[in-house]
Symmetry: C2
Subunit: 440 residues, 2 copies
């Protein structure tokens, strides 16, 4: 089968690896271009990652924030979706090979496989502190949160019960802030009347951030506001605090030269990122520079040095040509870079002079903290509270890729907002956990 | 902790094992009784099993048809929910022990753990033909259905591609009919325009039933109508056909003394049932009779012979005192038996004479075949087509246990009905399947 290239026409062949924000929006932007697009992903769906923490905390179901790639591209006749993992890259002969043995020839390649989490070399932490990148991650986190309360309810020993009711979120970026806020709401509202032996509002939520303030990418004023909103929910924010150890019993932290220990059975990781394995393969093939997280250094037009036909976008790329610092790993950067790469392919194909360089237009940042609470940083406007939450909700609803999902998410949010409930708090996967079997 | 019984008061202690239709409705029916209810389940949610096939076929998400048990019982002060598996039964001293080492003393026990699937002694079939009883089963079936099309799209060999596009459903009861109808709609409508190398409507769906007609529990006229509706969707119905072998390449069948082979990579099991493992434990402890499927034979008042304080209800029980034949394993029987058992406990507690025996009031049967198609058997009324489908939809919406779920399911159905789409068709779990890696 390797000798049957999927794209057979004489048209310019664009292969896009990765169906996240960057890859999918690049494919969509090429819908009127005279090219054959092949979008390869190992998953059959696009995941709306900004709302993944809501799956992890039982508000939404995976189906609400995922859209099948084939469904999104079904009417785009020049696009083919291919399920597979790219295992081989040949940039000289311009082909990729997938895990299923298919050989994909390309004229332009757009690499958009994103990033996973990094434990900064402490891979042993992964088992005790799952990160939040995939749907499976979110369901595992949901399972751990819910199992913790179930185990606490059955635990007779005070100390061990307290450890089940301590939750630590490592990393004070938007995901960490959102997770910590949601954990606090679960404890204080959702589960409030659900148990008979424990009192869920007794749970302690810790948010640990190594830098001096949470939301370090936001203006300092918003960090203060977010910190206050979290404190109002009972979250114990520990900034300028380094995590030096994680094991099954808790977290060791260091602050101002002093070491402390938080006994906690549930630790969630929202700290480092690491470029996907395809990134390493591509960097090796291209001889490209990477940063510490394995992201590929790109030129001002998003191509790799020496490879005018290879674009790297989104979380897989380091783009420093705008401000000197790398652009943040957010959906907006990926979407805009996907559009730029698509346009660049089209211009090159027409023989037009390409635009000089990619420029990110920052529409602003939003982070939600809880029901009716958020912080916003939109151009000159920095605001917080309910207005920010409304903007957050509207922006996220509008950006869901399928209309059906918008209706579903709106329904769920409205219900959740009115009732403070979380309908999707199911413990799935391993029905009963070994942890709960032998609490002592 | 084993010496700390959960129910400590002097009140009558009712322990219910299993939070399905029987157990949950028994707990709810005891809400005003002067008893302490403990509901034990290994899952933290109630599953609305009649709609599970819609999760398996990508219409609904698990969260839509599951309701957390704690959430349903949160306002019922006399009820405690306990996550656990019962691993020991002592009927003489009246206690159970859970997998977490908790000892539960009871005055009345209601056993409602239901049934799983049975491969009639051919356990090797399980791997190739998953059944549909749990949320995880449904997600696994969904994964297999979707992977089959992805693999077919990438398969160059005609014969192997055809095997990926053949689907066999074993068992022509309501679940089998619903699955076969949904598979046909996926092939003909949902995925119609989604692929570039295969034409999904080419897929063949087989429904194999050992008895002379499908829907054997329904009046013959409805079996004919259901068969016609399935044929109209392109399903190949094979009744009076026995399955004699299932392996990874397909199914061997026998009809009228002749053996035939269906090459198919996707086989779904909707045939036999087997009482849950708790049933065997209880039967051994009580010295109770069981039928071939391991279900416990109960007396007219749903108790076990020699154990007036042990009620067995729902799919775990064989009740032959009404018609001579066992009652069917449907939600209505379980719900009514749960209500009866709760009432019987209350009457006994008050010293009143118990009602003589349980009587099932058959409200009728419904099975859906596809979008706008169903068959209904309600008292003297037997009807099919769109009116039956409307009745089916209304009945199922109204019986969902949480209002939120009703709104969500209604939204999803309305969307699915209007657009013929299935938004929740995600391949989760193992991202890429070994099967697709080596198709040959």
């Amino acid at each position: 089968m390797a000798d049957t290239p999927l794209a057979e026409g004489a048209r310019h062949r664009v292969v896009i690896v990765g169906g996240g924000f960057g890859g999918l929006y690049a494919a969509l932007a090429l819908r009127r271009a005279p090219v054959d697009v092949t979008l390869v992903d190992r998953r059959n769906f696009h995941l709306f990652q900004p709302l993944l923490y809501q799956v992890a905390t039982g508000v939404l179901s995976p189906g609400d924030i995922c859209a099948p790639l084939r469904s999104v591209l079904r009417r785009q006749a020049n696009a083919t979706v291919l399920l597979g993992d790219v295992v081989e890259v040949n940039l000289d002969q311009r082909w990729l090979r997938t895990s299923e043995g298919l050989r994909l020839e390309y004229d332009s390649l757009i690499a958009a496989t994103g990033a996973g989490h990094s434990y900064f070399g402490n891979e042993a932490w992964a088992e005790h502190a799952p990160g939040l990148k995939t749907v499976e991650d979110a369901l595992e986190i949901r399972r751990r949160i819910l199992i913790a309360y179930e185990a606490a309810e059955q635990e007779a020993n005070d100390e061990r019960r307290a450890a089940w009711l301590n939750f630590v979120v490592v990393g004070g970026g938007p995901t960490g802030v959102e997770l910590a806020g949601a954990l606090a709401e679960i404890a204080r509202e959702t589960l409030r009347s659900d148990f008979r032996r424990i009192w869920p509002p007794d749970a302690c939520i810790y948010l640990v951030e190594g830098l001096k303030r949470i939301l370090p990418g936001y203006p300092p004023g918003l960090s203060v506001k977010a910190g206050r909103a979290l404190a109002g929910l009972g979250v114990r924010v520990r900034s300028a605090t380094l995590v030096t150890g994680i094991d099954e019993d808790g977290v060791t932290v260091e602050a101002a030269g002093r070491t402390a220990r938080i006994a906690a059975r549930t630790v969630l990781w929202a700290a480092g990122v690491q470029a996907s394995s395809f990134g390493a393969r591509l960097a090796a093939a291209a001889g490209a520079d990477t940063d510490r997280a394995g992201r590929l250094v790109v030129r001002p037009d998003l191509t790799l040095a020496g490879h005018r036909d290879v674009y790297v976008i989104g979380d897989l790329a380091v783009y420093t040509h705008q401000t000197g610092a790398p652009l943040p790993g957010v959906a907006q950067v990926a979407i805009q870079q996907g559009g730029y790469a698509a346009r660049a392919v089209e211009l090159r194909l027409r023989g037009d002079r390409p635009r000089r360089r990619f420029r990110y237009f920052d529409k602003g940042s939003l982070a939600t903290i809880g029901r009716g609470k958020a912080v916003a940083d939109i151009g000159p406007l920095h605001f917080a509270g309910f207005p920010a939450w409304v903007v957050w909700a509207v922006v996220h609803i509008l950006n869901l890729i399928e209309f059906e999902n918008r209706v579903l998410v709106m329904t769920q949010w409205a219900w959740n907002y009115l009732t403070r409930r979380r309908g999707a708090r199911l413990i799935t996967g391993t029905p009963l956990q070994p942890e709960i079997k032998e609490p002592g």
